[in-house]
Symmetry: C2
Subunit: 199 residues, 2 copies
């Protein structure tokens, strides 16, 4: 069964997705297992196979939930963003917050969070069933970023935006291998330089 039909069933199914999304955020794709999800949700193992035809489907739901949470948080931030001129540094910070999530106090936690976004990108390469979902979420992210720039008096074309995103993503994946990885700082530097009026 791929979807529940009673309200209670729907609630349980939902709890499983929440648990799966949390595991995904903490340990990546490999952490999303039937047993781990069911234990986390406090539900029996068999409930995971009852509500999801396969593990792939469960993972898909977890990716969607996690992405949706992030995009919603981004949209909320955007709602509170007044339209006014902003300096480069501020815009950079807003974009990073959107692309990498809000910066946690613990820098190790930041690494984990950042890691997942890029595991999702690369992991989609070996998981074709995630493609359409990933594409849709990327498009939403693009729209959010466009709006941020717009409202900050620094409008950019979609084309230019994709350059900037590539710059951030590239900076991050390269920073991930460093002995002391600070992907956010690396991305900040790249983005800041690229947005500077001119050098």
């Amino acid at each position: 069964m791929t979807s529940a039909s009673t309200p209670k069933g729907e609630r349980r199914r939902n709890e499983l997705i929440d648990a799966a999304a949390a595991l995904l955020a903490e340990g990546g794709f490999d952490a999303v297992r039937h047993r781990a999800v069911s234990e986390r949700a406090g539900l029996p193992l068999a409930s995971t196979t009852y509500y999801f035809d396969s593990l792939d489907e469960l993972i898909t739901a977890a990716v969607e939930r996690h992405g949706r949470n992030e995009l919603d948080a981004g949209a909320r931030r955007l709602d509170e963003l007044a339209a006014r001129h902003r300096g480069v540094d501020t815009v950079v910070e807003l974009m990073l917050e959107q692309l990498l999530g809000p910066e946690p106090a613990d820098s190790a936690a930041d690494l984990d969070g950042v890691l997942l976004r890029y595991e999702r990108l690369v992991g989609t390469g070996r998981r074709p069933y995630l493609r359409s979902l990933s594409v849709a979420m990327s498009d939403e992210m693009d729209a959010l970023l466009l709006e941020i720039c717009e409202r900050s008096g620094m409008p950019v074309s979609l084309h230019r935006l994709k350059q900037l995103i590539a710059l951030v993503d590239g900076a991050v994946v390269n920073a991930l291998v460093e002995v002391n990885p600070e992907p956010r700082a690396a991305a900040r530097k790249m983005l800041s330089e690229a947005l500077q009026p001119t050098a």
Copy 2:
């Protein structure tokens, strides 16, 4: 035992690394397993645990072998590269060849090859034991690319080079999620625009 002490042992250990590197290139990190490696090398299962203390050590050796092969091939290409002025398009192609490997005729094979490079980058995030190795290989790659630009009459600073690499890497990881992924084409476009004298 982490290293063999007889010539024959050294040879066998070497065959295991070759097999592991091949599996890595074909199926990513998850494909490097004791049993798969031993079968591929035509050696008994226990030989993998005899020559390598753990799977991590075997994976490390495979990553090193694979990276070394690629860097050596790059160095060989560089040796045959005469110093003379080249157009942007040509330099772009040379850089992509270095960063993503030579373009195979089969575009599906290209995807596999490209995927691995980025699995390695992101995978290093969750495999700290690969960090120092990955850093060293990245540095070698930087040197190779610097030299390519130099010999093509288009010298760049290390700082600028890192921007260009980030651009390529970012374009690739974003292209990986597309319904019809053409990471090389996406990277080519980005890089070409960035190197254009000015628009």
